[in-house]
Amino acid sequence: MAFDIEKIRNDFPILQRRVHNKPFVYFDNAATTQKPLRVIERMDKIYLETNSNIHRGIHYLSDVSTRQFEEARETVRKFINAGNDHEVIFTSGTTAGINMVAFSYGEKYVSEGDEIIISSLEHHSNIVPWQMLCERKGASLKVIPINDYGELLIDEYEKLFSSKTRIVALTHVANSTGTKNPVKKMIGTAHRNGVPVLVDGAQAVQHGKVDVQELDADFYVFSGHKMYGPTGTGVVYGKESILEEIPPWQTGGEMVDQVTFGKTTFNRLPFKFEAGTPNYTGVIGLAAAIQYIEETGLNDIASYEKELLDYGNKRLSEIDGLNLFWEAENKISIFSFILEGIHPYDAGMIIDKYGIAVRTGNHCAQPFMERFGIGGTIRASLVFYNTCEEIDRLCEAIEKVKEMFS
């Protein structure tokens, strides 16, 4: 097998630890991922050897730091195949990125009576900023409905457009279900209606090749910490033509060109959108994570994760009294399920005791859960450092849970 899982697991030191005196199984990857040693060491090296604030500094280390930061931008550009470096804006995470776009785009293009389309599969972070925008501007939300597999109803989507539609905000991959949405096609539909699209890629970039130009996404947003990078980092890709048009969101040091008390003019892209000292250590760590992903190979990652998905689906569906939700055609290896008659919290508490980290609850997707009349599920989200043996261990733990609460 080309995919050397043992080597990979050794790259992630935390996977070697024990929890509750059991080997640690980390199945909470949709919440955040673990970090390969090289990412940790990359950031250490900065603090131990080169740390200095970036941009406009005249001294040696400031120069080193700035180059590393701008090289990281180029690494991200290549990773998502953006056309230009300055279309890559660094933020503190997906939530911050969506807030940025909702504010900046909203200030310029959304006014009373306008409409914004989102989907039923969105994370709260891709719902609430649009709600707030609607509230501020007197606009309204239209929601793309789903079927019972947790798939968007594309026909219904097309019907939501009107002359009032100003933007579509859509997740690439849903964090509650793992469903992959046909974003390319959906962007095409939006563009035919003259409407730009923001894609929430928080659960997508780490699982398969994303090409923002091929998708023709107007905005593409994701978090570093969910793709094996550090916390406090994130990216907004935006098309130059739109980024030039919309006003900045945060303002302050470095993103300005000229400041007088009367009037301020803004710096060019990408700086216009990067106010204040960026998390440059984090960003450089993120570039190291991307290099790690690329060396491992996104195609290999995707096909190994598909194996995990198939094996997990098979094993979990064999368990009596386990309801596996949303087995969409096209999805990443997220398993969302409930055990009949057992509260997810009770199950989660016991599964934890076997050293297995799963998440329980509504996964920041309340409206979605309500659509299915459930308060929450148990969610196991797997990535390429997980194994089929770990899935077996989860199944064993589930059997124990059933015994206890029978």
């Binding site: 509750h20 057992i342 509260h343 997810p344 919290y345 009770d346 989660g348 508490m349 016991i350 005791k353 329980t360 609850g361 509504n362 308060g375 929450g376 206890m404 609460f405």
Partner: protein, 145 residues
């Protein structure tokens, strides 16, 4: 009948749990306790009595009977319900002063601390807070009367 103090009952519970070496036995005991909890009438399972908490839902009611606070409570999660049973055993039927000032050290000592972590959001932390608030409210009320 000389009533036991809260401290005495806490020590009693700690002793009961001491025979369990394993978390599994502790949790099984909690499940057992949950079955002994009378719970709460469905009609009270309303937002009015609901305690916030994202993982499991907890409902709590309090009444005053002969200068003592009587609690009834329930949850949709069994482990949570088991701990509620312990809390009711400890605090229900006590004078408000006693409840307000008590320090619930038993949770730590019987190794169920994780269930009272604010991070777990099972509603128990808020429930204890709410139990004390009820007691405080009754105390203030009786002083004003």
């Amino acid at each position: 009948m000389a009533e036991k103090t809260i401290t005495e009952v806490q020590d009693e519970i700690i002793e009961e749990f001491e025979i369990f070496d394993e978390w599994l036995d502790k949790y099984n005991y909690l499940i057992e306790l949950s079955q002994s909890l009378p719970g709460i009438d469905d009609k009270y399972k309303s937002p009015e009595y609901l305690i916030e908490g994202c993982q499991s839902r907890v409902w709590l009611r309090a009444e005053m009977e002969n200068s003592k606070v009587k609690y009834t409570a329930d949850s949709d999660a069994i482990i949570t319900k088991g701990i509620i049973a312990l809390l009711i055993r400890l605090l229900s039927g006590r004078k408000p002063e006693e409840i307000i000032n008590t320090d619930l050290y038993f949770i730590d000592r019987i190794g169920l601390k994780e269930n009272l972590s604010p991070a777990r959001s099972n509603g128990l932390v808020s429930m204890i807070k709410q139990m004390k608030l009820y007691a405080l409210a009754y105390q203030t009320k009786s002083k004003n009367e």
